[in-house]
Amino acid sequence: MSTFGGDSWAREAQNRKRRVDDLMLSTSSSGDASSPSFKKLSSGKYACLVCSHNPILDTPLMLSIHNKGSRHIAAQSRVREKELVKQDELHKRTALSADACSLSSSSSSTLQAKHSGHHDKPLTQKTVKVILEAQSNVENPDVASTIHNSKTRSALCDPKFIPTNVIREPSGNVSLQSSMSNEKKLLMAGTADQKMLVDWHSELRKRQEKELKFTAAGWKRDCHGKWYKDENVEFDSDEEDPNITLR
């Protein structure tokens, strides 16, 4: 275009530059496209989402200059740190609650599977996927697959006995896993910490199950995490006190 001369080359060059800026901006702004660090407002201006006071910048150029500023960089690292912590926590939690909730979710998902399979249950599917991912991240793939197997096995069990299953199945898994990891220990060293992790998981799961049992038995928790009896529920004289049992 401009090579043909004419009056309009400057504007075109400007447009081209803006386009390049835009592209540069979108690629350079942050690694993942899912959470951009800025937002393009309807007025054509840009708002930085990283900095806490959300400064509004008129042009991409100004935004890129702002992005190079020390305050922005500091804010960015803070955000990244926060995110990482959150991610870690999420992984941890899903991995920990994996079996307890995988059972309940799998029991419900098998019900659905009876009707129409997993395909149109995005939430269930997602949960299952996350759990699986988390587990395969944490443990080696063999163990993950055994968990998976045991999960399908438990799903085949009569769902009438869910509560007892919930108590027994995971511990069964644990023994299975621990025995497997025992073998592994013989074969290769350095899996001890893994076993500890598994133990820790099962411990947590057991505790969670116990807590659930107490809530089902009519105990409630106040805001300090202390257990108290629901006044509408009756208790046996020698009922276990979760405040003592779950110390």
Partner: protein, 1216 residues
């Protein structure tokens, strides 16, 4: 889902009955209405009641009356139903049907207050009939006959009176004067207008006479007079020269004779000595016996006592009315005195009975009379009596009735081929557990052990004219045993039969000679003792034989057939030989047809899976006429000839035809029609009978040819009311059988099984189930199965009854008092004059079943919990509840991580009262432990609750209880149940709870189903879906995860299903729909279930169960009803079937409208439009249609009538 509804067992209860001469001739018949079926019963010569005809009318029959036109020989039946029409029926003997003579429409359909149908009254001379409603309307139809002696009916004449309630209507006998009808009426117009209630308290019943003026063709209120406010029933007194005319008014405690212009004659009804003072005595049913010279009435009270009422009269002046104790039988809904000296008592609940009169109460007994009536300041002096054993009546037959079915379970506890149906039936002292098995009942007459294992058995007569069989011949592996039938059955050796060889066939040949076929030849024993022997050629042996009276065909090894015929001299002559391609598996010759020389057809089955029909005619002897290939080698063949008959013993007619039946080795019975002329086979049907190849034998049932099929269980194929039925027998596996006839047993069967010879008769033909009865103490409410030991736990409770101990104590006291009282009041002539010892003896003989329990105050309850071993019928534990408690719900429960294992929870109420207002002193949940291997119960503890726990159910190791409107979750504590969680949001009263996985399905008494969930982490029960239709549930059953089946008290069965997307959403939602639940929708749950099936059964369904009644059959929903019927709803599994049956149903609706005048579609949609259910009962009326109509319908469906019958049979065979 499309369902096929079929009634398996017709209702047993009787709503009303009338007797008369409906067939014509001298016989007496009874017409009974069983809710929606109309039956014609007849006592046969032996005094057994036979059902001649049973028709489903698709409407509710509310009243029946019988009348006869003057000079006619035959009675007509008038039917009052919910159709808004008056129907007059005539029984047609030729076609064995009720023929609709007239059908007069007068109002809307349905049981309504002011639409007539509830009461019917006929003029005793058959000139007019009155149809009355409960309120306001009365219509009178004039009956007459035209020149061709046909019955005519006039347009209705109105005798309405507004604001009037009618209690009873009858026709007054006034000879040939104008017809008069009498009614007990109550005018409530003033009571309606008076807000103070004074007028309502003062309301007075009147006896009103309505006169039909035949000259003016007009009905007028002729006479009205106040009667006792307790009046409930009117009885016609014969008039017109036979008696004084007028009516008997049955009121509480009194019977009053009334007539226009005649003073009242009043007598008190005697009371049972042990009756509480607060209770009155009401007459519930009445029957009149009339002869030329005398008449009397039998009135039955609500306690079952029958009184004979006689009138002393001169002309039409009545001087004395006497009420004399007659006998006590179970309370009836209707009594019929037959002219032949029988009394048919249609019981209110339980089995009906036929009694024969021994005497007519002439002997001395307690009597109340109008002449000795004494009035004191407290009222009239009562007369007391003690019930005693039957004196005037003797019971000669019973008609089974399951009414009412309180609870039912289909289980295979005995590990038989088919499951058993366990039903709780009856009420009060007549209640029972009945174990129903599909099949006919057997009466075993004799079982005797034989020396060795027999292989076959035959019976033979000595002469064709003999009535009874002479010998039973039993064949063993290498010998033959001959037994002669006489006073006893003993072995004989002078019969001429060869006893050192096994036999293949033994039969009567010609008129008086016997034939024995053994592997090496034929032995022909002439009447004079000469013996002709035919030997097989060479080394060949006889393998199979077929014979009738004149023809014998034998099959030799290798496949050669030799045909013998009897000649003029009585000699057996070889006629023809024929070589078959291979060995013969079986063969049979049809019996010689009446008036013919020989039978034309020989059927031969070969191992190459074919059956051939060969001709035996001299012209084309041994020519193959037709070949039929079958799925498996045939094991046994039987040609069954059905003779043409019109109006035979059972009144049915069918054309003559020959059926070829073949039992195949894969256990299938194959049945096909043989063309009488060409021998072509057509219309084949097959049915799987059992795991063994069926062996077929001919037998005689009710004088007709029938077929016995012995597979893994025996079956009988016979003709009943014009239909061919193939029904299993409830008997063990048999090897070989033959019909048996002796003077002790006219139509029996002799059979061999194992090492025993068995002789039995087949009973109660036409029934679907046979029953084993275990009597119970009180009205059974519910039962559960103890899962481990397979015992049944039954809860029983009765209102207004004494507990067993109280009864025992009272009886002792009463006995003592009776002795005392008798001495003290010896001067009273009306008292019993029996000696003390005699009295005591009879007292002991009184069974509660017949006399009922002594009545207690209405707030008293008696109740018990019973552990019953169903195999032996023994009660292993019976806990009588004390302290006015009554059990209402029961379930077994396993509490999680508690040491006791399975426990029993029973919900009880103390001091429950329904009137004037429902109230309860306390409710309890008892927890019992099973001890002594589940044979006995031990109370662990009992927990008081605030209402009646009507529903209990195990859920996740805890106990769910429905207490009034509260759903509560209990855990087991040391001393009591611990309330853990509850939901108080149910609308009325919870009547049943089902659980499946984590869902809870709660049935509300008025508001249909509620689907709930329990959340452990919140410890909360919440309702996520409910029904939008208020249903008054009487029964419910869980079908699948989203579907429930329910039945309401208006007689509907329906299925509801949670829509798939909603169900998925709830299962997927991590809150389990909780957020939505908090929002709610229109005061209800956020989601609504959808109705997917709806059907009006026309009878209150009390129990539902999903089960399969035949091995390998499809699952269907089985239901039991208050009237004692058992039905099934079978889901269709192909679209074609649905199309076919819905078209057939449509045509049947059009071509064969129901008998009582109710539109079929309207009946099945009485409360809600029928949805996706095809009425099998209507479809099964197809065979009763005249042949041209059958052909018309089948043409419309592009099929033949035979194909339609086959389809109907097939679908029935899928259910039972």
């Amino acid at each position: 889902m499309y369902l096929y509804s079929l009634t398996l067992q017709r209702p047993g209860g009787v709503v009303c009955a009338t007797n008369g001469n409906f067939v014509g001739g001298k016989t007496q018949e009874i017409v009974v209405a069983r809710g929606k079926t109309l039956d014609l019963l007849r006592p046969d010569e032996s005094g057994k009641l036979q059902t001649v005809l049973s028709v489903e009318v698709f409407g509710a029959i509310r009243s029946l009356a019988q009348f006869r036109l003057t000079g006619s020989q035959k009675d007509y039946v008038v039917v009052g139903s919910d159709s808004g029409r008056l129907v007059i029926l005539e029984y047609s003997r030729e076609r064995n049907i009720f023929h609709k003579v007239h059908q007069e429409t007068f109002g809307k359909s349905g049981c309504r207050r002011i639409v007539p149908g509830q009461f019917l009254a006929v003029d005793p001379k058959g000139r007019a009939v009155m149809a009355a409603a409960c309120e306001k309307q009365k219509l009178v139809y004039v009956l007459n006959r035209d020149a061709a002696a046909r019955l005519t009916i006039s347009s209705p004449l109105e005798a309405h009176k507004t604001h009037t309630i009618t209690y009873s209507v009858i026709g007054v006998d006034c000879g040939f004067d104008n017809p008069v009808f009498a009614a007990i009426e109550l005018d409530y117009s003033e009571a309606d207008l008076d807000p103070t209630g004074q007028a309502a308290a003062d309301a007075q019943k009147h006896l009103t006479f309505y006169e039909l003026d035949l000259g003016l063709n007009h009905v007028s209120r002729k006479w009205s007079e106040p009667v006792d406010n307790g009046a409930n029933l009117l009885v016609t007194v014969p008039g017109g020269g036979d008696g004084p005319s007028g009516v008997l008014v049955c009121a509480e405690n009194f019977v009053i004779y009334k007539n226009q212009g005649h003073p009242d004659v009043r007598a008190v009804i005697p009371r049972r000595a042990d009756l509480p003072a607060e209770r009155g005595v009401l007459v519930v049913s009445a029957a009149t016996h009339r002869q030329k010279s005398m008449f009397f009435f039998l009135l039955q009270t609500e306690y079952g006592d029958i009184f004979k009422v006689t009138l002393e009269h001169e002309g039409d002046r009545v001087s004395e009315l006497k009420i004399k104790y007659f006998d006590t039988i179970p309370v009836t809904s209707s009594m019929c005195v037959l002219k032949t000296g029988f009394l048919f008592a249609a019981s209110e609940f339980g089995n009906h009975a036929l009694y024969q009169f021994q005497a007519i109460g002439e002997a001395e007994d307690v009597e109340a009379s109008s002449a000795t009536l004494m009035e004191t300041e407290e009222g009239f002096q009562p007369v007391f009596f003690q019930p005693r054993g039957l004196k005037n009546l003797v019971r000669i037959d019973q008609v089974q009735s399951l009414m009412p079915i309180m609870d039912m379970k289909v289980l295979n506890l005995f590990e038989e081929e088919t499951p058993q149906v366990f039903t709780l039936c009856g009420r009060g002292p007549r209640s029972s557990l009945r174990i129903l098995r599909p099949g006919l009942a057997i009466n075993e007459m004799a079982v005797s052990q034989l020396p060795g294992t027999p292989s076959a058995v035959w019976t033979v007569k000595k002469n064709v004219t003999d009535e009874f069989d002479a010998y039973i011949v039993v064949s063993f592996a290498n010998a033959t045993l001959v037994l002669s039938i006489g006073e006893t059955i003993e072995e004989v050796s002078d019969s001429g039969f060869l006893d050192t060889t096994p036999s293949l066939s033994v039969s009567l040949l010609g008129d008086d000679s016997l034939m024995q076929v053994h592997p090496n030849g034929i032995r022909h024993i002439r009447e004079d003792g000469r013996i002709n022997e035919w030997k097989t050629p060479g080394k060949k042996t006889i393998v199979k034989v077929g014979s009738n009276r004149l023809q014998v065909v034998i099959a030799l090894s290798g496949g050669e057939l030799i045909y013998f015929e009897m000649d003029m001299t009585g000699q057996l002559m070889e006629v023809e030989k024929h070589e078959m391609p291979g060995d013969v598996a079986c063969l049979d010759i049809a019996p010689v047809p009446e008036g013919r020389q020989r039978s034309r057809f020989l059927a031969v089955g070969s191992y190459d899976n074919t059956i051939r029909i060969l001709s035996l005619d001299p012209d084309d002897c041994m020519q193959i006429l037709s070949v039929q290939s079958v799925s498996s080698p045939p094991e046994s063949l039987l040609l069954l000839e059905v003779q043409a008959s019109t109006g035979g013993e059972d009144g049915a007619d069918h054309p003559a035809s020959v059926f070829l039946n073949a039992g195949l080795q894969n256990g299938v019975l194959f049945r096909t029609v043989v063309d009488m002329v060409t021998g072509q086979l057509s219309d084949t049907r097959s049915r799987f009978l059992g795991l063994r190849a069926p062996k077929l034998f001919s037998a005689i049932v009710r004088g007709r040819q029938a077929m016995l099929c012995l597979s893994s269980r025996p079956w009988l194929g016979y003709i009943h009311q014009g239909h061919f039925l193939l029904t299993p027998l409830s008997y063990e596996t048999l090897e070989y059988a033959a019909s048996f006839s002796s003077d002790q047993c006219a139509e029996g069967v002799v059979a061999v099984a194992g090492e025993a010879l068995r002789i039995f008769t087949i009973e109660r033909l036409g029934e679907t189930f046979n029953e084993t009865v275990v009597p119970l103490r009180y009205t059974p409410r519910k039962f559960v199965l103890q899962p481990k030991r397979k015992n049944l736990i039954i809860i029983e409770s009765d209102q207004g009854a004494f507990t067993a101990e109280e009864r025992e104590a009272a009886r002792k006291e009463c006995l003592e008092a009776a002795g005392m009282g008798e001495n003290g009041s010896a001067n009273n002539g009306d008292q019993m004059e029996n000696g003390d010892g005699d009295d005591e003896e009879k007292e002991d003989a009184l069974s509660d079943e017949q006399y009922g329990y002594p009545k207690a105050e209405s707030e008293k309850w008696a109740s018990c919990i019973r552990v019953l071993d169903p195999r032996t019928g023994n009660t292993t534990c019976l806990l009588e509840l004390q302290d006015n408690e009554a059990a209402f719900s029961v379930c077994t429960v396993n509490f999680h991580d508690k040491e006791y294992g399975t426990l029993l929870a029973v919900g009880t109420a103390k001091g429950l009262q329904f009137w004037p207002k429902k109230s309860v002193a306390a409710g309890f949940i008892h927890i019992y432990r099973f001890v002594e291997e589940g044979k006995s119960l031990e109370l662990l503890h009992k927990t008081q609750v605030e209402g009646v726990p009507l529903a209990l159910c195990q859920f996740q190791g805890r106990l769910l209880a429905g207490i009034g409107p509260i759903l509560r979750l209990y855990d087991l504590g040391k001393k009591r149940l611990l309330r853990k969680c509850e939901n108080k949001l149910f609308p009325n009263t919870i009547v049943s709870i089902h659980t499946y996985r984590d869902r809870i399905y709660v049935s509300d008494i008025q508001e249909s189903f509620h689907y709930c969930k329990y959340r452990r982490d919140e410890n909360q029960l919440y309702i996520f879906a409910d029904d939008s239709v208020p249903r008054w549930l009487t029964a419910s059953h869980h079908i699948d995860f989203d579907t429930m089946a329910g039945a309401d008290k208006f007689g509907n069965v329906y299925f509801v299903r949670l829509p798939q997307d909603v169900s998925d959403e709830i299962e997927e939602d991590p809150t389990g729909g909780k957020i939505k639940w908090e929002q709610g929708k229109l005061n209800g749950a956020p989601n609504k279930v959808e109705e997917i099936v709806q059907f009006h059964v026309g009878d209150v369904v009390t129990c539902l169960q999903k089960s399969s009644l035949i091995p390998g059959g499809g699952e269907c929903v089985i239901y039991g009803t208050v009237m004692g019927s058992v039905g099934a709803l079978l889901p269709f599994n192909s679209r074609e079937d649905v199309d076919f049956f819905s078209h057939l149903e449509m045509h049947m609706r059009q071509e064969h409208p129901p008998l009582c005048g109710r539109d079929h579609m309207a009946f099945r949609s009485a409360y809600f439009p029928v949805k996706d259910v095809i009425d099998g009962d209507l479809c099964e009326q197809f065979p009763t249609l005249p042949p041209d109509l059958q052909r018309k319908i089948s043409d419309e469906l592009d099929r033949t009538p035979g194909e339609i019958l086959k389809k109907l049979e097939d679908v029935r065979n899928r259910i039972i």
